[in-house]
Amino acid sequence: MTPLLQVSGLNAWYGESHVLQGVDMTIEEGEMITILGRNGVGKTTTLRTIMGILRERKGQITFDGKDMMNVPLHRTAHVGIGFVPEERGIFATLTVEENLMLPPVVAGNGMSLDEIYDLFPNLLERRSSPGTKLSGGEQQMLAIARILRTGVRLLILDEPTEGLAPVIVQRIGQVLKTLKERGMTVLLVEQNFRFASRVADRFYLMDHGQMVADFPVAQLPERMDTLHKVLGV
């Protein structure tokens, strides 16, 4: 079986700075993958490059057998990849519901508005408020919820728990588990190691613009030494 996402020899640059230096990774359909690594090793850049936001790139990205390197940014979502950025990207001039309805539906298997409001009752209550009037946790829920409507197959999440209270982090963990039960594939960058170890199936460990290790969650105990060394925790 071909993996849903295959990345090989991926290089990317921010101007002069060579950030990704040959990233290789594969994600099978239905997997939940977490990229671990210290600040500045290229985790967010990996996500942005796969998404096609960062265009100064070389290498190979195939999604469901399709070559993604020449797909323009506004077609990436239609191929089946959805993105929740680190800064969440909630629009201040749009209401909560407008934010929710903004991303075009790209496939029929997305959640309906009712299902989303069932999963996130807070959003229903506040649907007419401006998007940025929500609390940080609610904004993160909204950022995830609006991608779930679109029916993408791969959800890319950049540090979903950053700066959120423990109870909200737990709630996001539950949401991710629900998504997994529905067969969604998720690629996650996460600093919160405890959170990541609860939700992920497999880890990639990143250092200096490359993936230096990958292992399933079951091997976590025996990998702790490597993790300590690379993460510096």
Partner: protein
């Protein structure tokens, strides 16, 4: 004769009306500028030329094809809008990656080219465009004589302004536009064709300017330079209202038109500069403009 503050009421109301009519043009034009600036981050110096083109296209449609005012009100903005969209697609869009100054210089050059070409072809003298017969004549309001056409300009421009505002604030297309104004890359990552949205927006802005031009043709005559003087005032309006604020552009357009009209009554010598004085004061107190967000 009834007097208010030592001014005959007829003179006061007359200037108020003139102010309201000028304000209608300020509002329509600054609305287009604000929409374009909001999304494209381009200061569209060609806006005055597009206004002039609207009037000229209406005039030429009448002369060569016998197309009357009412049809021209739709056809001329459509033609100018399409030309604007083509210009955006083939030329302006190449400049987005560069400093914003290049967009400004390009549209400034475009304005000079268009206005120069029309001056070469038609001379700088104004050509009359007659008021449509349905709107000819006037009505006596008791306190003053109101030419019907001018009343029409105030009403229709208000309708178009509100319609545009509703399009941007209340529709799906408008939500794309607002979101892309905040974060174009993310909207594109969601699967919205933002380059196409930019083209449509520039076309819409140009069409709004052309619509104002058709409305202006029977009042101010049609001349290649009719947009040049107006556009400077309109830029001041946009600065006072706040760059990129749609409602700000509309409200400020009417407000400054009226302020100008009232100045003509109370202190005529200052009427040409009052808008710029207001602009200077607003810039000192609220640099982001009256309705600007990041004050």
């Amino acid at each position: 004769m009834t007097m208010i503050f030592g001014i005959p009421i007829q003179a006061l109301l007359g200037q108020l009306l003139i102010g309201l009519i000028n304000g209608s043009f300020y509002a329509l034009l600054s609305l287009g500028l604000a929409v374009i600036f909001g999304l494209l981050r381009v200061i569209n110096f060609a806006h005055g030329a597009q206004y002039m083109l609207g009037a000229f296209v209406a005039l030429l449609l009448l002369q060569y094809f016998g197309i009357n005012y009412w049809l021209a009100l739709f056809v001329a903005p459509a033609i100018v809008g399409i030309v604007g969209a083509v210009v955006e697609r083939t030329m302006l869009s190449r400049l987005y990656k560069l400093d914003a100054l290049y967009g400004l210089l390009f549209t400034f050059g475009l304005a000079l080219t268009i206005e120069g070409t029309f001056r070469y072809l038609y001379g700088s003298a104004g050509q009359p465009y007659s008021v449509p017969s349905l709107l000819a004549g006037g009505t006596n309001l008791g306190f003053m004589f109101l030419p019907i056409y001018r009343g029409w300009v105030v009403v229709i421009s208000l309708i178009v302004c509100i319609g545009t505002w509703l399009l941007i604030e209340k529709t799906k297309l408008g939500s794309y536009l607002r979101a892309a104004t905040e974060n174009a890359v993310l909207v594109q990552a969601f699967g919205v064709n933002v380059p196409l949205l930019l083209t449509l927006t520039y076309g819409l802005g140009a069409a709004l300017a052309a619509f104002a031009g058709v409305l202006a043709a029977p009042i101010y005559q049609v001349s290649p330079l009719m947009g040049t003087n107006l556009i400077i005032v309109v830029f001041a309006v946009v600065v006072v209202g706040g760059m990129g604020s749609i409602m700000g552009a509309i409200v400020t357009g009417y407000m400054l038109g009226i302020a100008e009209g009232l100045t003509k009554v109370f202190y005529p010598e200052a009427s040409n500069i009052v808008i710029f004085v207001i602009m200077a004061i607003v810039l000192l107190i609220r640099p982001a403009g009256l309705f600007g967000r990041d004050a």
